[in-house]
């Protein structure tokens, strides 16, 4: 795409934002209107990122920029999803509390928030912004996620709905609260900008499961942002399953801020979308914070899946662990960039990162870039990255025990993904993901002639 056509693509959203600001959202509090204005300002200034930018070297957003997406509305009549459509996507259990969003808007009839303990608020962000805007104001956009990426800026510009979760001091919610983002593709390509805010107060604990999925096939674009604030001594476990349509585009930012002695984990499984980009950042703002990023991405056909992660050790005595495995088949392209920053004075930082990419076909490709920036001297930081086919030594080991070549290959491929799933703490979810992984791996083996 030329610079001029990229600029045109940007203009499309700037004018869409003008209409958005006039219709319906004009009644918002001033601070929120200002936040949105800042978002569209940042987006207009930078526009769609070009591949000249280091952050976008391996990922072209051209397919997104070249499509004129319309802001999604709730589907009408026959295309409205039903409880039956939703049940199979509630990976932590259909009987568990959930907030369901259809095309970015809260659907109260499909949602169920009863059974939550006192001290847990789980509602739509739109609802919270209407009823108690001050409860949201302090944290929304406070991570400055909008200035980190053009897409997060665009999400902020169109900020309207999504999930709001707040867990009061000392309250524990161990079973995951489910947030389901369901897209119903329309005749014209639709974009939704779901925004989620999770605030975990001091010594509280929460588990959240975010699922992105589609009801029906078609081109659509999900442009999501999730902000998570984990207070002193608090713990948050976030599970994220991206199984959007393989015709869809999925762009997302997840930003975590952690207080002193807090613990956060983000487990991610990315299966879907033709183009998926997920920026994850965790800022360890208090001493003794611990963070785990644990992700699996699977690509096949022409899928492109990109993860950019940043762990910012801003304070001493923090620990971070990061494990991302990518499994790439067909002509899929995986990208991983893992940046670890250790700030001046962040002594006794303990950080480990691994990124392994399994190439299952000759034409699959993976780019892996660890990036360590260390400004303190008493730290322990290790990283390892690998890209390649199945380990021949492991294959021989299995075969030398009587396991046939094909079965051995399937086992190793499965194990490569199961390694990531084994770190996930919710058995019901783990089993569901395990089933999805097995289906992918075994489906692949069965569709191939014997070697």
């Amino acid at each position: 795409m030329t610079r001029a056509s990229l600029a045109l693509a940007t203009d499309h959203y700037v004018s869409a934002h003008r209409a958005f600001a006039r219709n319906g959202t004009a009644a918002s509090p001033e601070w929120l209107r200002e936040l949105r204005a800042e978002g569209i300002g940042l987006f207009a200034e930078g526009g769609f990122p070009s591949s000249d930018l280091e952050e976008w070297r391996f990922t072209s957003v051209e397919p997104i920029a070249a499509t004129a997406f319309t802001l999604a509305r709730e589907p009408r009549g026959g295309t409205r999803p039903t409880g039956g459509d939703v049940a199979g996507l509630l990976l932590a259990g259909a009987d568990r509390p959930r907030l369901v969003f259809v095309n970015g808007r809260f659907d109260p009839t499909l949602s169920r928030a009863d059974g939550l303990p006192d001290g847990v608020v789980a509602c739509s962000l739109a609802g919270a912004l209407t009823r108690a805007p001050e409860s949201v104001r302090e944290h929304l956009g406070a991570s400055r996620v909008q200035s980190r990426s053009a897409f997060a800026a665009l999400n902020t510009a169109f900020l309207r709905d999504g999930a709001f979760v707040r867990v009061r001091s000392g309250v524990v919610l161990e079973e995951p609260l489910q947030i389901l983002h369901l897209s119903v593709p329309g005749i014209e390509p639709l974009v939704s900008h779901p925004r989620t805010l999770v605030v975990v107060d001091r010594l509280a604990r929460v588990a959240v499961l975010e699922v992105f999925a589609a009801a029906g096939d078609g081109v659509y674009w999900t442009n999501a942002v999730t902000e998570l604030v984990v207070g002193e001594g608090a713990r948050a476990d976030i599970y994220r399953v991206q199984r959007d349509s393989e015709m869809a585009y999925h762009v997302a930012s997840t930003h975590v801020r952690q207080g002193r002695d807090s613990e956060a984990s983000l487990h991610s499984a990315a299966f879907g979308a033709s183009l998926a980009r997920h920026d994850i950042s965790a800022v360890l703002e208090g001493e003794g914070a611990r963070c785990l990023l644990n992700g699996l991405y699977l690509g096949r056909g022409g899928q492109h899946v990109d993860h950019h992660t940043l762990i910012d050790h801003a304070q001493p005595h923090c620990e971070s662990r990061e494990h991302f495995n990518g499994m790439l088949d067909g002509e899929a392209h995986g990208v991983f960039n893992g940046r670890i920053v250790v700030r001046e004075g962040a002594q006794r930082t303990d950080s480990r990162q691994t990124n392994n990419n399994l190439l299952l076909s000759e034409r699959a490709r993976a780019d892996s870039q660890p990036q360590l920036e260390i400004h303190a001297d008493d730290v322990k930081c290790t990283h390892g990255a690998a890209v390649g086919p199945l380990d021949e030594r492991a294959l021989f080991y299995l075969r030398s025990r009587g396991i046939g070549d094909q079965e051995a290959r399937a086992m190793l491929t499965y194990g490569f993904g199961a390694d990531i799933l084994s770190r996930m703490g919710v058995p019901r979810l783990r089993e569901q993901l395990d089933g999805m992984l097995r289906q992918r791996v075994l489906g692949r083996v069965e569709s191939r002639p014997a070697a």
């Binding site: 492991a394 021989f396 299995l398 030398s400 396991i403 070549d405 190793l412």
Partner: protein
């Protein structure tokens, strides 16, 4: 059971085995000793079907069948087992799942019914006692995070479960402290039966203090240069390997 005649094998174009002759009969334990680089591990790898080695001459038959023509998994199903010098770590697959898949592949080949998980766990618990391996290791990924001794004991556990006709132990004693060596060799001795055989490949004599061989062979420069009884191992311990190299092999 195993007949090796004039076996030549190369790795990346370099000939390592240069005419090995060896006969192993049912109920026998043979030790193959030799200096570093003599071809001991190559011999073990070639017999198990390791893809890095190319057989360039000679024959090997197992129970009358051409061993070298079989794929690695076929050899295992026919009853050949290799205990690895460096066991491989496999993430994401539990030890129990791995072993059950292996056992069932072998049982299926022998026309036996596959074991379900419950029957298999009962069998595994019983075998784990023989090698004194903690049961918690069964639900951990294969060899992942195992200590050196645990890895070697895990190899012997696999041997106990799969009940091979011919077990090849490739430097199973290397890297073991004296306690672990005692556990491993006692397990190996328990698995010794009149209807199976073992080929124990080792650099040092100390394993043979516990696992008494019927025959000892010295491999040097890709050939067996001397064969004898268990007393040969003691002689090697005392004199080293150099005196054998000085003697012409033929």
């Amino acid at each position: 059971m195993l007949e090796i005649r004039g076996l030549h094998a190369a790795v990346q174009g370099v000939e390592i085995l240069r005419g090995v002759d060896l006969t192993v009969r049912r109920g026998e334990v043979h030790a193959v000793m030799g200096p570093n680089g003599s071809g001991k591990s190559t011999l073990a790898g070639v017999l198990a079907g390791h893809p890095s080695y190319t057989v360039t001459g000679g024959t090997a038959t197992f129970e009358g069948r051409d061993l070298l023509g079989m794929a690695a998994e076929e050899r295992a199903r026919e009853g050949v087992f290799l205990a690895f010098q460096y066991p491989i770590e496999i993430r994401g697959i539990t030890n129990a799942y791995f072993l059950r898949s292996a056992l069932n592949a072998i049982r299926k080949h022998r026309g036996l019914e596959e074991l379900d998980p419950i029957d298999f766990i009962a069998l595994l618990e019983q075998k784990a006692k023989v090698v004194e391996l903690d049961e918690s290791l069964m639900n951990r990924p294969v060899n992942d995070g195992f200590s050196g001794g645990e890895k070697k004991r895990n190899e012997i556990l696999q041997m106990a479960v799969l009940e091979p006709k011919l077990a090849i132990l490739d430097e199973t004693d290397s890297g073991l402290d004296i306690d672990a060596l005692r556990v491993v060799s006692s397990a190996v001795n328990k698995l010794r039966r009149p209807d199976n055989a073992m080929l124990v490949v080792t650099h040092y004599q100390r394993l043979l203090n516990y696992v008494t061989p019927d025959f000892v062979h010295v491999l040097a420069d890709g050939r067996i240069v001397k064969s004898g009884g268990k007393e040969l191992a003691l002689e090697l311990e005392a004199r080293g390997y150099d005196w054998l190299r000085a003697e012409p092999a033929d």
